[in-house]
Structure formats: C-alpha cells, structure tokens
Symmetry: C2
Subunit: 142 residues, 2 copies
C-alpha cells in the first residue's frame, strides 16, 4: 500500500477501519511508525507508554477482546501540519470482560476525540479522551 | 480588542482564560459569534442546543458554579482552516452541587478534547468530550 498520495485524514480513516474495526495485525505494520507513544488516554492500561509494533499489536488484541465487533465512525476531522484531530463515535457488543464488568453481551456505545501525531506519513502517537462514563453508567444500570 | 492579527489558537487560549477561567461575561461578547452550537458534549445539559450570547452566558454562570476557581490548561493544540482542536486539563474545587453530588470542597480534575468551529474569527460551536468518569470515580470514592 502506498500512503504517499493520501492525506493524513484519509490515512487515519483507513487505519481505524483496518486496524481497529477489522482487527488486522498486518495493517499495524502499514500504518504505524517504529514506536508509538500513548501520551494521554485516561483509562487505557498502556497510557504513558511508548510501544514497539509488537507491543501495539498486543494492545490491539487485548483491547478489542472486550468488543470484537467494535466499529469507530468518524464524526469530525481536522488536519494540521504534523497531526490530525478526529471526533468519533464507537459501538460494540460487550463480549469480553472489563475490570469490574464481566461480559454482558450488551450493545455499548461511546464517543471520543483523538489527536494523532505523524512521523512522515505514519502514526507515532496520540492524545485521546473517551467518554467512558457513558459506558460505565450503561453497564451499572444493568 | 482586535482579533484580526491573532491566530485561532491564540483566540481559543484567550477565550478559555477570560471566559471560562475568569468567568468574564463581557468577554463572551468579544469571542462568540451571534449563535453558538453545542454539537456534541456528552454530560453537558445544553448538548445539541444552539445558544444566543445571552443563553451562552447563562450556561457559563451555571456551569462555573460547581467550581468557581476552575482553570483550563491547554496541553495540545492543532489549527485547521475553520476550526481548532485543543486537548486540555482542568482542575477546580467542588464548591457547588452536581446532580447526585452535593458540594464536597474536594479538588477535582479531568481532561478533555474540544474542536472549536469558527465563523470568521469568532467561535460558533464545539464538539467536545471530557473524561467525566475520573471525576465521578473520585467523588464516589468519598
């Protein structure tokens, strides 16, 4: 795959589709820089860490286990010089355990915003906040 | 005040300082367009509404009552053609009631991301997500 002619928003769109919606480990090799830093992401177990490709793949597999049918949809996009901001919605079926919440099979939904940093045309980190309270409240309500 | 020579990130920085950190109602007149739309902001009672200047001032006064000493600090900024994305941290003292949580006097903190839309050099709306779960968990823990 050639990214050369693609805008950064298109790259993030394809990255979210292939890597996070479809769970493709091969796609990680195409979109990520050698190292990827999770600069800010409250609630993410890898927050603050700089991951290798292999570390990122572990995070992907473990994160997707809670909702293997998950889907991100971009709602807002904004392209800067070395980064892209995206506002997104997310839905999935709660089929894997979350700390404190064994799998319920419920549909869960949230939204969030992410700023992705680029190194040339590959993703090298993010600063993200998700509306985890909506998920928590939905699961607590039973 | 003249905004003409300022970049949009500078405008958002000053807007957050004057309007949200200091609570200046006069500053609302300087930074906002005639109408301001809260496109997405889970947990904000005005989510989905388009506010007049006066409506926005009501929202400001009511929102700041929970933590009158609140302070936003920008951590990440990204400027696009008609919008700006900012990642921020926020601290304040819980001195006013929140639904379900009477004032505790505790220091509370959260982070979030906002995409502000501009009409010429005035703010006309936002798409925002805040990490409300961290605040909730801090208050529940007592």
């Amino acid at each position: 795959m050639q990214h050369g002619s693609m805008g950064k928003i298109r790259i993030v769109t394809n990255f979210l589709q292939k890597v996070w919606n479809e769970g493709s480990l091969d796609a990680v090799d195409l979109y990520l820089a050698d190292h990827y830093t999770i600069n800010h992401d409250p609630g993410d177990p890898w927050e603050g860490q700089t991951l290798t490709m292999s570390g990122y793949k572990d995070r992907l597999v473990q994160s997707r286990a809670m909702a293997p049918d998950q889907a991100f949809t971009l709602q807002k996009t904004l392209e800067g010089k070395d980064s892209v901001a995206v506002g997104w919605t997310w839905i999935g079926s709660h089929l894997g355990d979350i700390p404190g919440f064994p799998a319920t099979g419920k549909k869960i939904a949230m939204s969030g915003l992410t700023i992705y940093d680029f190194q040339k045309l590959r993703l090298c980190g993010h600063w993200q906040v998700a509306d985890r309270l909506s998920v928590y409240q939905h699961l607590v309500k039973g």
